[in-house]
Symmetry: C2
Subunit: 582 residues, 2 copies
């Protein structure tokens, strides 16, 4: 037993108790006649005291020589502090040390182990084990563990079974790139790491397991964008004998439980919005609805004058920015520069000030009169004191641009509070989406998603119009989960593969086992998967998932701490029947 | 809503209730005037009834045409059964059907979906999704899920944190072969899949996380023996500021909790036995102590006569087989043949009958008298009516042979009851073991295991004598967990690597990050890992882990259902900078 108590445990009631503590030397303050040491472990900090009156001289000397991050064990007595510290739970007491053992020394750490560290991102990653000692990182990992436990408890209570699906599976060219694993026992052949357990969970439904979940690692060999990881964690779920309504209710229940148990937040029934409505009102299929600023489509009230920019546009659309009439001309010019940046790509922005006296002043007063602008205000919901920002152009592009502007302004205006949670179901997604480059249609969700009843024939005539039994759960402008009701008969699945450009042979080679399974009494089924990394980050009130992963990889997919990936031995390659060739 | 109740739910109290059920047609019995259908789902079986008196003719006809494993939905009324079936929970009632919808048809399954199936292993693996519909497999998967939940609940209550460690790590030649994953973004470099999260969990201890666990997949590219899988699941645990005693107590607590909560079995404090004692008493480091038949070493009482077989042996050792004096000469000859099989490899077996009258009759009566044999009986604990089986030869070999014989006889005698649970700690393992082929020493547990205090110097003079702070948890003759107190300082770790044949450069290249970490205040720490697959199988009273894995691989490492591994596209290989070469 290295300790009788943790460093976060001792209170006034422990005064006069003999204790043994172990932990790290967080800080030493040497006042000559007295030395204080802050001893830290996972649970908190306890102040140790050594002084000339009560401490043996050798022990005092030993305390003086303790370096930062030394690991020590002490025995001593809990005493009342002379000057209490209300900022920490152990602030009423300190421990007068009688014995001190150095369990391990420490070199000076490359950055300070404090809430606000002086370590840069790279250094913190290389010494991640020291970074984890810092409270914010440690608390994030504990928080993640707690969220995962709550998910498991809730789903288990609902009779869901956690089933482990295999990690060594088969590569399928559909979707993102697979990581592959050469097989030594089957030379020239490869396993693939799963991008998700999709087909396996569907097979479990065919197998009658009814309610499945799994918290599981998934893998995608993508060129990494910021805040994407090659390995990530999903809460993967599937149910049989269900309709969309059953899935939405079940996982709305889970999400409410998490918000309540983890954050203490009660949320009303989640609103639902079609994909089309989300795109029209927010320019985005994962709208942040913590604030308004909904899109007002202005074609009808802005294309009747001589302003060609608007007249030639497919869509003219604006938002009312609350209180932003106070922006100076300079501030507005900066905003125009912001939307013209290549990342956003707007060609310009028309604005209209809504003055307190009810009059309007716009950048296109040449073309439009007060009556026109009153209609713009009405359509965008602008009130006196607001600023209307208007973009125009191709529908898809201009919606994306205005959506980006809306989010940016909301952030600037403090409308995106991380203590507020606004979940939303987005439903009725398109089944397919057009790849502009290749001219081919892809499955928007995945090839196993079922079209809305009665829309199968439409695939031949107007594929883009087909809607799917697919849904996303959106929280504060982030997609935290997505799923669908699946196809469960061989013919529909074959039709779907055909429309996705698979030959019957390709479909059979890659997904023959699933189509076979559909012939042996597959029940109606559907499911959902949540991105745990993102869910945890958002619940934790933060935006970067990396801070909630114990050992993340950098943007080149490297673990800089262990220095992986790395070359392997020639012998190893030879055993695998492989040769480097680049 | 496809159903109002499950097929396992309806009781007498539901009589007169209108219900909707969905499930699979398990069986149809057509008596002409009445048709009964057994409707099955995950939760049970409910009998449906259709008859000429109460059912519309078209509906009766529809029921007649239902095939096995059709998926149907019915609406009807719960009525009392005329002849009740006490064997199933729903046996008091049946449902008089009013509406029937066929949700999906089914081809005739390749084997029967019943508790005892006519499907062979290969067929069951190819159609695993149908095999899972069978009760025994389904119940195993539900059982596994329950065990995992109990593990998580228990450890979470003890303030353990579940932390996900990475799957894409670095290959290390030590130990078993790694599966590797070529990196596309870092050409010519590879990740490896973890054989265990060993170094990461130690780094979490350096990071101050104190009590870690994870239920996690691990990977080993071994030539598969029966009942080994290339991917398997570990309950991986680590604690800081602990001694061996703390770990044993903590995980004895976990194991007791599992036995109690899952099996309803109370177990006393677990006995502890040193490795040396286990080898001497049972010839095995994972002895099954549900029964006696402990080894009696007979050198002192069997090497004093003219019997050269014994005199030239390093070890003469016997066991008393209870009641086996009743074996015929023929049966004993068969036993001798059994130990002489190449899998066991004994050259012969001496036996000694312990007659009811207190006299002895052995196969070596030429050499030994009654007094000698009385001593053998005393040493082996044999009583009148027992049979003493004696093997001799090289200590290690003969112990392994007699251990195999002991287990075989216990099985034959019905002494290995799967309702009885006898856990045991085996402690004080050797730190190193000699590889007979290469003449080199390997780490018996792994290179991070600490030697017993004060024994470090012994590594230079008598490496085989060094004992480790290492322990195994054994249950009913199976190792279900193993662990150790780790090295936590750089010097000891470097010494250990040196003795394992690493050059300092190799040690630094492979484990530099860990040795670096030890310089920044690594706390004393240790841990344990349980094999979940085996633990679940043993708790479930079975021996093959494959029946507790949803989608297992066969002995060639193949998933025959999805047909993996499989060749990949040339384009994929090219992107990875690889060429096939075999």
């Amino acid at each position: 037993m290295y300790r009788s108590h943790s460093c976060g445990e001792l209170r006034e009631s422990h005064i006069q108790t003999a204790v043994t503590l172990s932990g790290w030397v967080s800080k030493t303050r040497d006042k000559g006649f007295v030395v204080w040491v802050d001893l830290r472990d996972r649970y908190g900090i306890t102040q140790l005291v050594f002084d000339t009156d009560r401490t043996a001289p050798e022990l005092l000397e030993k305390a003086r020589n303790l370096g930062r991050e030394f690991v020590i064990q002490i025995k001593g007595n809990v005493i009342e502090r002379a000057s209490k510290n209300a900022n920490i739970p152990t602030g009423d007491i300190e421990v007068l040390v009688e014995e001190l053992v150095v369990l391990n020394e420490s070199k000076t750490p490359p950055f300070t182990i404090e809430n606000e560290t002086d370590g840069g991102e790279d250094l913190r990653m290389k010494y991640r084990y020291l970074d984890i000692r810092r409270n914010p990182v440690k608390e994030n990992l504990i928080f993640r563990s707690k969220v995962a436990m709550e998910v498991r408890n809730y789903l288990s209570d609902q009779e869901f079974i956690e089933v482990e699906t295999p990690y060594l599976i088969k590569s399928t060219p559909e979707g993102a790139r697979d990581f592959v694993v050469p097989s030594r026992m089957n030379e020239g052949q490869f396993y693939a790491l799963p991008q998700s357990p999709q087909t396996f969970k569907q097979l479990l439904m065919v197998g009658g397991l009814d309610k499945y979940f799994q918290i599981v690692k998934c893998f995608r060999d993508e060129d990494l964008r910021a805040d994407r990881q090659p390995e990530f964690t999903q809460i993967d779920c599937e149910m049989a004998f269900v309709e969309q309504e059953d899935i939405l209710n079940t996982f709305e229940g889970l999400t409410k439980h998490l918000l309540k148990s983890i954050k203490g937040v009660d949320v009303e029934n989640f609103p639902r919005m079609t994909y089309d409505a989300a795109m029209a009102k927010y320019g985005n299929d994962k709208p942040d609805i913590r604030f308004g600023m909904e899109f007002g489509e202005l074609n009808a009230v802005a294309q009747h004058k001589e302003f060609n920019v608007f007249n030639s546009a497919e869509l003219v659309v604006g938002i009312a920015v609350p209180g932003a009439n106070s922006y100076t001309r300079k501030e507005i010019d900066k905003l125009i520069d912001w939307v013209k940046r290549p990342q956003i790509g707007a060609l310009g922005m028309v604005y209209c000030r809504c003055n307190d006296d009810g009059s309007f002043k716009s950048s296109v007063d040449k073309f439009y009169d007060q009556e026109d602008m009153a209609k713009w205000a009405e359509t965008t919901g602008a009130k006196p004191g607001d600023l209307i920002c208007i973009l125009s152009g191709d529908t898809n592009k201009v919606r994306a641009q205005l959506s980006a502007l809306r989010m940016e302004l909301a952030t600037r205006l403090g409308l995106r509070q991380n203590t507020e949670f606004a979940p939303l179901w987005v439903i009725d997604f398109p089944l397919l989406e057009l790849d502009e480059e290749t001219g081919h249609y892809h499955a928007m969700h995945h090839p196993f998603t079922s079209p809305k009843p009665g829309q199968l024939a439409l695939l031949d005539t107007d594929p883009a119009a087909v809607r799917a039994n697919a849904y996303d759960l959106v929280l504060n402008g982030n997609e935290i989960g997505g799923g669908s009701i699946r196809i469960h008969d061989k013919e529909t699945q074959a039709t779907m593969f055909k429309h996705l450009g698979f030959t019957p042979e390709e479909a059979k080679a890659q997904f023959g086992f699933l189509m076979d399974a559909f012939q042996y009494g597959a029940p109606p089924h559907g499911g959902i998967a949540f991105g745990l990394d993102r869910l945890v980050a958002i619940l934790g009130g933060q935006e970067t998932i990396r801070d909630f992963i114990a050992f993340p990889k950098n943007n080149s997919g490297r673990d800089v701490m262990i220095d992986a990936p790395a070359p392997i031995d020639d012998a190893q390659l030879k055993e695998l029947g492989l040769k480097l060739d680049f």
